[in-house]
């Protein structure tokens, strides 16, 4: 291990160190604020640690980890989301009587898992990150034990994700059996007699990730867990976990040769199309905003993985760029909504304020919030002036460049259906305010502070800015083959292994 390699994984080291120190801190003195601020500063430090890490791109740290631009970008994204999550959680938990220090430990553990996942270049690392992430998420979902829903949500997540991950592990075992290689980079189709085994393994691995990305038909857990989990945890689930899973899926797809296979692409595309349609259909009449976001996330992940169905080497870079841009935009919009919801809810409330019909007439009562939410929803719906449109536009370009007509059709139909429920919410926000005050608890109260408004406003501004001048970000996202080791090529794609 040289210094360079330490620098390359400095963020992760910082996080791990921070976790240890958190435990010490808890042992030393239990304080609501102290731990929160410590966590935040740790994450900030980890974020800053990416600057030196930038110098070490394309360096392998042990066979397990490989640092490249793509993973660094996503790590930055993940850590920023975490930062927001911590801050939101602080506001959310502050109101409770008891101390919630462990919560932050779990949170950091989850993020560490996500980061490892993003960096992983080896089944073992994938496995570690994956489990670290899911187990600590289970802990956080079930965290507010006084609510009855959290228990249910936590248990569902535990059982299902455990099942899913064991399925994935079985897949890894099969692949290992077929190829004799645990590292992603060197896996090549192995001996003929184990072909079937290898294929089965790949499918099982795909199942594992589809579960985490909540793609149809492995999506069933999503709405329940989103609804049952405390709002900040839902936020983590919707942003950090999704981003990490997308990253590792991309790695499998583009870095590992055995995934470079047409049959799998067909499977993936069909999964994507199913998710777009079913996700939007399920959300159509949903009144609970948390569940609705869960369903829409199903659809959005469906849109997103279109970028993996690329057919030719030269479109890889563009596809990656589009993918990263899209998930970024998706996360931005989701953050706005979830920050608002988290701000309006309290840890010791019976449940979170998650019925969007309570938002009626918000634009006239609280114009700033109303505007932010409307723009976030528009961005999710992919309407111009918002970044969501640019994201969708990029996806269209990728899909068309690779001539995925089925996906395009589903994309159009899906967003057609999607418009209905996004617009319903928007019109509800625009409607005349209800006469009785009691209906509008969701529009007031909670742990909402001016800082929530500011952050929401800032994010909204970013959304608009990206929507009008996408280049300010898009030109920064460079995923040429020199920045990321891609062995993907169409020749292999077509070849039958």
């Amino acid at each position: 291990m040289k210094l360079a390699q330490f620098i390359a994984i400095a963020p992760e080291l910082i996080l791990s160190l921070a976790i240890v120190m958190q435990l010490l801190l808890i042992a030393l003195k239990r304080s609501q604020h102290g731990i929160a601020f410590f966590t935040m500063s740790a994450i900030l430090l980890a974020l800053f640690a990416h600057y030196p890490a930038m110098t070490q791109v394309n360096s392998a740290v042990t066979p397990l980890i490989y640092v490249d631009v793509f993973s660094l970008t996503l790590k930055v994204l993940i850590l920023s989301c975490t930062l927001v999550a911590v801050w939101v959680s602080y506001g959310y938990l502050r109101s409770a009587v008891e101390f919630h220090d462990e919560y932050y430990v779990l949170l950091l553990l989850a993020v560490l898992g996500a980061n490892i996942l993003v960096l992983a270049n080896h089944f073992a690392a994938v496995f570690l990150g994956f489990e670290l992430l899911s187990l600590s998420l289970v802990g956080m979902i079930g965290y507010l034990h006084l609510r009855q829903h959290t228990l249910e949500a936590g248990f569902k997540y535990l059982i299902l994700s455990a099942t899913a991950s064991s399925i994935m592990l079985l897949g890894m075992a099969f692949v290992y059996g077929a190829t004799g290689e645990l590292s992603l980079a060197y896996q090549v189709p192995g001996q003929q007699n184990l072909r079937l085994l290898g294929q089965a393994g790949l499918v099982l691995i795909m199942v594992g990730f589809s579960f985490k990305l909540s793609l149809v038909p492995f999506h069933t857990w999503t709405p329940d867990v989103y609804q049952g989990a405390p709002m900040p945890v839902t936020l983590l689930l919707a942003t950090v976990s999704k981003a990490a899973m997308f990253a590792i899926l991309v790695k499998f797809w583009l870095v590992s040769a055995i995934f470079n296979n047409e049959t799998l692409q067909v499977l993936l595309l069909s999964i994507a199309i199913a998710s777009m349609l079913l996700g939007n259909l399920l959300a159509l009449t949903q009144k609970n905003i948390k569940r609705l976001l869960a369903y829409s996330s199903i659809a959005h992940m469906g849109y997103l993985i279109i970028v993996l169905a690329i057919q030719s080497q030269q479109s890889v870079a563009w596809a990656l760029k589009s993918g990263v841009f899209y998930i970024l935009v998706y996360i931005l919009a989701t953050l706005i909504l979830m920050i608002y919801l988290a701000g309006r809810s309290k840890a010791h409330g019976v449940h979170d304020q998650d019925d969007w019909r309570d938002w009626q007439g918000m634009i006239w009562r609280r114009p700033a919030h109303g505007a932010c939410l409307i723009l976030a929803l528009l961005s999710l719906a992919g309407i111009p002036l918002t970044a969501g449109f640019i994201g969708k536009f990029y996806l269209f370009t990728v899909a068309i460049e690779n001539q995925l007509w089925g996906a395009i059709a589903a994309l159009i139909i899906g967003s057609g259906i999607g418009l209905y429920y996004y617009l319903s919410i928007i019109f509800c926000i625009l409607a005349k305010p209800p006469v009785t005050q009691c209906q509008t608890v969701a529009v007031s109260g909670g742990s909402f502070t001016i800082s929530h408004t500011t952050v929401m406003a800032m994010l909204t501004v970013i959304i608009i800015a990206l929507g009008v001048f996408p280049d300010i970000l898009a030109s920064q996202l460079m995923f040429q083959s020199e920045q990321i080791p891609i062995i993907f090529n169409e020749a292999a794609l077509k070849s039958e292994w």
């Binding site: 248990f155 299902l160 294929q199 499918v203 795909m206 199942v207 579960f211 049959t263």
Partner: protein
């Protein structure tokens, strides 16, 4: 900007003044403005006609004065101009329109005096005159179409002038829409004409007929479509049903629009486009048929009317039928002359009828009149003069024109003896219903409820007298129309000598018949006897209205109302409904049962595995 171009604008200006200051003008002022508007254009047209004659005397070529104002729009290379053209034909028309129009305006001023919307009424009348002048002076067919539609709109406005009575409104709408059908045919004719000749300028089209005539098929269609327009406007079969209902309007309106001027526009159009019709003899024959059938049917219907104005309306139809017949038979000059004379005597009839109605407190049923000869002798005399002209009593203007038409029928290439007989029969019926009217209205005792209050306003009487004079002498007004029309060479086969005497005699015989039948019943308050089905059938205009109603109007309305919620929209709603059903179906997946979720996980895995294996 000479008198010709100014001609239509005098009434337009007076219209504008009247409509803008409508309520603020008192009766005198409004009258002065309205009358001066039309009067000026009358004077102008007299001057113009003199000039025209001067020109035509000096040179034997068919002279015409053309004044162009501006280019309206371009059809490809062809400029559609706003331009006026005056030749003997349009000269006759403008003389009639402005002259008779002026007199009728005068009468109307007295007739409508009490009405609260008096100046609005006069404004509409002026606007009508303007539109009518544009129609007859137009040098291209598009501008003619403008006038054509303009008079239609004015007629709509004036029929429905007392808009608060639903009946009037319906009559107005009916008149507008039925004529609109004709207008559409006319428009199609224009399109076809433009396609063939690449111009819509009337003189150019007619000139082309000498050099490069239309193909017979094209001419056939174009002539037919133009005829369609003509029958709509001129209330000929089969688009005649609007005219009797149009009597809902104030009587001066009936006199001006539905007797003297607008309804003759169709005749004018066909006469104008004679060059095209000559290329399509079948259609000329059809014109003759249209005219003859109309004049018979209208005459029969007139026999059974109880409303004095409806009698006159049907007689108008039949008289225009004569004009059509004349055009069809190639007796253009006679037809146009009859147009002129008819304008005189029919205006006279309507106005006198109006005077009677006014005196009788808007009682229009002839069976509640009677004995008027004693009570308002002057009016009665004038009315009878009109009737005399109507039945072509020798020495009246009607005699001159109608005999001229009938005389040419027998040996016309496009008509023939059959038409002659129909015309004669028509003449017989004409005098029959005329004198039925006369006997029942003017003889016997007065049978009305209210006491008569004859008006004596000079504006009421002067126009009547002048019209009476015209009705007698109008036939001798020189119109050198001969230069306008291509003379149809008649075969030299000699027509039998008894024709003429029969043509003169039969109407007189009819008077006697009418005397025998109707005079005894001069005191009847009921149209007895024969109040049978036949009578009712003919009173209802031989059931045309009922037929159209059942065949066209009702189905259309039903169809429209049936689909008022737009079947296509249901399709759209089906889609959305579909989405929602799928939504509720998909919700079943989210049962919230953990073990079911795990099962979906397993099922999904198996499906994928199978997918990759197979």
């Amino acid at each position: 900007m000479t008198a010709l171009t100014l001609l239509p604008f005098f009434p337009l200006f007076s219209f504008l003044i009247l409509i803008i200051f409508s309520k603020r003008l008192n009766w005198q002022l409004a009258t002065v403005i309205a009358l001066s508007g039309v009067g000026l254009s009358f004077l102008a047209s007299v001057l113009l006609i003199n000039d025209l004659y001067a020109v035509s005397q000096s040179s034997d070529i068919s002279a015409g004065v053309r004044e162009s104002l501006w280019t309206w729009f371009m059809l490809g290379e062809h400029e559609v101009q706003v331009a006026f053209f005056l030749d003997p034909l349009s000269a006759v028309m403008i003389a009639v329109v402005t002259g008779v129009g002026w007199l009728i305006h005068g009468f109307a001023a007295a007739y409508m005096r009490e009405d609260e919307n008096y100046s609005r009424f006069m404004a509409y009348m002026n606007l009508f005159i303007c539109a009518m002048l544009i129609l007859v002076l137009a040098d291209n067919l598009v501008l003619l179409y403008l006038g054509w539609e303009g008079v239609g709109l004015c007629s709509f406005l004036l029929i429905g002038f007392w808009y608060q009575e639903p009946g009037n409104a319906i009559a107005a709408r009916k008149a507008f829409i039925v004529t609109r059908i004709g207008d559409t045919l006319l428009a199609l004719g224009l399109f076809y004409l433009f396609l063939e000749t690449n111009t819509l300028n009337i003189q150019e089209i007619l000139a082309q007929q000498d050099s490069s005539p239309l193909s017979s098929e094209a001419a056939w269609w174009i002539a037919l479509l133009l005829l369609g327009g003509a029958v709509g406007k001129s209330a000929q079969l089969p688009l005649h049903t609007w005219l009797p209902d149009a009597m809902a309007g104030p009587t001066p309106v009936s006199a001006l629009i539905h007797a003297a001027t607008m309804v003759t526009a169709g005749v004018y159009l066909i006469a104008r486009m004679q060059g095209v019709y000559l290329q399509a003899p079948d259609i000329l024959n059809l014109v003759a048929w249209t005219g003859s059938l109309t004049l018979l049917i209208a005459g029969i219907a007139a026999l059974a009317q109880e409303d004095i104005k409806r009698v006159l309306a049907y007689s108008t139809m039949s008289q225009i039928g004569y004009m059509m017949l004349g055009l069809g038979a190639g007796a253009n000059v006679a037809a146009i002359t009859h147009l002129m004379t008819h304008a005189f005597f029919k205006a006279l009839l309507f106005l006198t009828a109006g005077a009677i109605i006014l005196a009788a407190h808007h009682q229009q049923n002839i069976f509640h009149m009677g004995g008027l000869l004693k009570r308002m002798p002057l009016i009665s005399i004038l009315f009878v003069i009109g009737i005399a002209a109507l039945i072509a009593f020798p020495g009246t203007s009607g005699f001159v024109s109608k005999e001229a038409i009938i005389g040419q029928l027998w040996q016309s290439p496009t008509a023939g003896p059959a038409f002659w007989w129909m015309a004669i029969l028509g003449a017989f019926i004409t005098s029959l219903y005329s004198f039925r009217l006369v006997f029942i209205t003017f003889f016997g005792q007065y049978r009305g409820q209210h006491e008569l209050h004859p008006q004596r306003h000079f504006l009421l009487l002067v126009p009547l007298c002048m019209l009476a004079v015209l009705a007698i002498l109008g036939g001798y007004i020189p119109t050198n129309l001969e230069q306008v029309f291509v003379a149809v060479d008649a075969p030299d086969s000699q027509s039998p000598s008894w024709l003429h005497s029969v043509a003169i005699g039969l109407p007189l015989v009819a008077i006697v018949v009418a005397y025998v039948i109707y005079f005894p019943r001069a005191n009847a308050t009921e149209p007895v006897p024969g109040k049978g089905s036949l009578y009712r059938f003919s009173r209802n205009g031989l059931g045309f209205d009922a037929t159209y109603d059942a065949l066209l109007v009702k189905p259309f309305v039903k169809l429209a109302k049936l689909n008022r919620h737009d079947a296509i929209d249901l399709l759209v709603q089906l889609i959305s409904w579909n989405a929602f059903t799928w939504n509720s179906a998909a919700k079943a997946i989210q049962s919230g049962r953990l073990r079911w979720y795990a099962a979906t996980l397993g099922i999904g895995t198996i499906i994928l595995l199978l997918g990759v294996m197979l």
